[in-house]
């Protein structure tokens, strides 16, 4: 049984100009000890997926129309609000993209980490204060006793993101969702934060969902990749297979549009056009208007996510043939 299993998830939002379907039947699963990367452009539904798992979809205007999210055998969508809250933080934790906005500006960071224990009534050995100091030490914050009393604005961007991470791992959750944790950081700091996340994943058997649009980070951290486009998962594969042998034309386009050091290719090929307007998605396959392989069928039938090899799936009528 998978640790976390999302099936046919559909999430929509009411907007002034009509109903937007942010997720159109997203399915994936996460095993213990695995890092799954959710890869896609902005607007593809990566963050909404995280929000749906954490019960953070604002309602109204948002609503989960159908689907299922099973965690450790239990269906989350039928639980009460407070039961969902009790799981959040303790067993499923979220790391936000912009730590400056995500930390509360008026409380010391030590207080904010300690709050994890307080909310969930945990009493760590040696006391909460010691647990906080230990966490800060573990994530590489020098002079932790003094720093714990300081406020978010007194830290650098990288340090703030480390504190977000410390908060997320404080109660040793089973699932850690990292929503673009490195996007707002300088490149050198990005590498440090990725290293920290890599250390954390080696330490326990938690599953990690890593949301990103950065192929470099995917290559470094992920075991498996789910590529998202316009609210759907269009391809899942293990990370080596995706880089060597992508089946969906969109995955292939993504790979060709980013610089790589492992090929001789020195020309970057952008994907033509731009991400579709979520209010007016193309009929059939949402990618067909930008796809070099599209044919008549693509406009009529939405391609289902089908198995195309051991442990890998693609949603395409005319997948790229194996290399």
């Amino acid at each position: 049984m998978a640790l976390l299993e999302v099936k046919d998830l559909q999430v929509s939002f009411d907007t002034a100009s009509g109903r937007i379907f942010a997720l159109n039947g997203v399915s994936f699963s996460l095993e213990r000890g695995e890092v799954l990367a959710l890869l896609g452009e902005s607007g593809s539904g990566k963050s909404v997926t995280a929000s749906a798992i954490m019960d953070l979809v604002p309602n109204p205007p948002g609503a989960i129309d159908r689907g299922s999210i099973r965690f450790d055998g239990a269906e989350l969508l039928t639980l009460s609000g407070n039961e969902r809250r009790d799981l959040c933080g303790s067993r499923i934790a979220l790391i936000f993209q912009d730590a400056l906005a995500a930390l509360n500006p008026v409380y010391p960071v030590g207080w904010q980490i300690a709050e994890m224990y307080r909310i969930h009534g945990r009493k760590p050995k040696g006391g909460v204060k010691k647990a906080v100091i230990d966490l800060l030490t573990a994530i590489g914050i020098p002079d932790p006793e003094r720093r714990a009393r300081q406020y978010p604005h007194e830290f650098s961007g990288g340090m703030r993101q480390r504190i977000m991470i410390a908060m997320a791992v404080a109660l040793e959750p089973d699932v850690i969702i990292a929503d673009e944790p490195t996007t707002a950081l300088d490149v050198t700091i990005q590498a440090q934060v990725v290293d920290l996340l890599a250390t954390i994943r080696k330490r326990g058997d938690a599953g990690m969902i890593f949301i990103t649009h950065d192929l470099g980070v995917v290559a470094e951290l992920a075991d498996r990749v789910a590529v998202m486009y316009a609210g759907r998962i269009v391809e899942t594969a293990n990370v080596f297979e995706l880089f060597e042998d992508a089946r969906h034309p969109y995955s292939l386009g993504l790979l060709a549009s980013q610089p790589r050091v492992d090929t001789d290719e020195d020309e970057l090929v952008p994907i033509p056009g731009s991400a579709p307007n979520p209010l007016a998605l193309p009929s059939g396959c949402a990618f067909r208007t930008r796809c070099p392989r599209a044919e008549g069928l693509c406009a009529e039938v939405v391609p289902p996510l089908e198995t195309v090899g051991p442990g890998r799936q693609a949603a395409c009528h005319f997948p790229v043939s194996p290399a």
Partner: protein, 306 residues
């Protein structure tokens, strides 16, 4: 807040106070000659001149100014013409009444506004929110003299459960407090609602929910403290206004506060009372501003002055 910062503030306040008192000195003398008011119409010129000499009003204005400034520096505010007692003694009897009246009204308004504003923000767009909106708009717009007169008419004249005016036990405070309460309450509800909606949509509130915090904790621990700042600013402003007296409300209810004392002092050309009142109110406003700054820094670490 460091000591040097406080000294700097105090120095600026002293400068402002000097300018204020000098203008008060000239302005109060524009109200007219007290001698004409206090002596009978048929008093002889000699009697008028004698009173002017006794009050020191016969000397040149500049000489009076220097003399008066010297007295103030030695904290001597002169004798009240009307009360025939040291002016500052009279002022210090009225000031606590005004401060208590304002503090009670503001404390009630602030507390009620936090509760109502937060409830409206949590239910933004719903019927509770709309109800609170109508109520607070009405409270913020109703003129206090009208509210005072209607209160007297209803509770004192028709129902005969509250006194029309005067001063005594707690019952004399009910109508004045209610009248002063309305406008700050209405204004503050609107402000708390707005800043609370903003705070509830902030990313750090999402973080709190992601950490597993339930609604009460999210609203009152995480959002509210961030939403308090604008309300504190406005309350500080209102407190400074109220320190100058409940104005019309004190007059309507014959409430012996600094506002009524000041207005009577002007009508009676009691220069010493007017000047002493202005001085006392200015000092209170300075203290209120310092307190608001300290409160601000204790709520939001980002504005702390090193």
């Amino acid at each position: 807040m460091s000591f040097t910062y406080f000294l700097k503030r105090a120095a600026f306040a002293a400068l402002a106070l000097a300018a204020l008192m000098t203008s008060a000195f000239f302005l109060v003398r524009l109200t007219g000659d007290p001698v004409n008011l206090y002596l009978p119409v048929d008093a002889s010129d000699a009697a008028r001149e004698a009173m002017r000499i006794r009050l020191g009003l016969d000397r040149s204005l500049l000489l009076q100014l220097f003399d008066w400034a010297w007295d103030i520096l030695s904290l001597d505010f002169g004798m009240s013409l009307w009360h025939n007692r040291p002016a500052m003694d009279v002022v210090l009897e009225a000031l606590p009444n005004t401060l208590a009246l304002g503090a009670i009204a503001l404390a009630l308004a602030f507390t009620a506004a936090i509760v109502m504003g937060s409830i409206a923000a949590v239910n933004a767009g719903g019927w509770i929110d709309r109800g609170v909106n109508v109520l607070s708009q009405a409270a913020a717009s109703v003129p206090d003299f009208w509210l005072g007169l209607m209160g007297v008419l209803l509770f004192a004249v028709t129902f005969r459960i509250l006194p029309t005016s005067g001063f005594g036990g707690p019952i004399y405070w009910v109508l004045p407090v209610a009248c002063l309460f309305a406008r700050p309450f209405g204004t503050l509800v609107q402000i708390v609602r707005g800043s609370m909606i903003e705070a509830l949509n902030a990313t750090f509130v999402r973080t709190a929910r992601a950490k597993g915090a339930r609604d009460g904790r999210v609203t009152f621990v995480h959002a509210l403290r961030n939403a308090l700042l604008p309300a504190v600013t406005v309350t500080g402003d209102l407190a400074a206004q109220f320190a100058g007296g409940g104005g019309v409300v004190e007059v309507v209810f014959g409430f012996p506060g600094i506002g009524k004392l000041l207005i009577d002092g002007i009508l009676k050309r009691d220069f010493a009372i007017v000047q002493a009142s202005i001085f006392a109110v200015a000092v209170v406003i300075f203290v209120i501003n310092i307190l608001v700054d300290m409160l601000y820094a204790s709520i939001d670490p980002r504005v702390r002055v090193e």
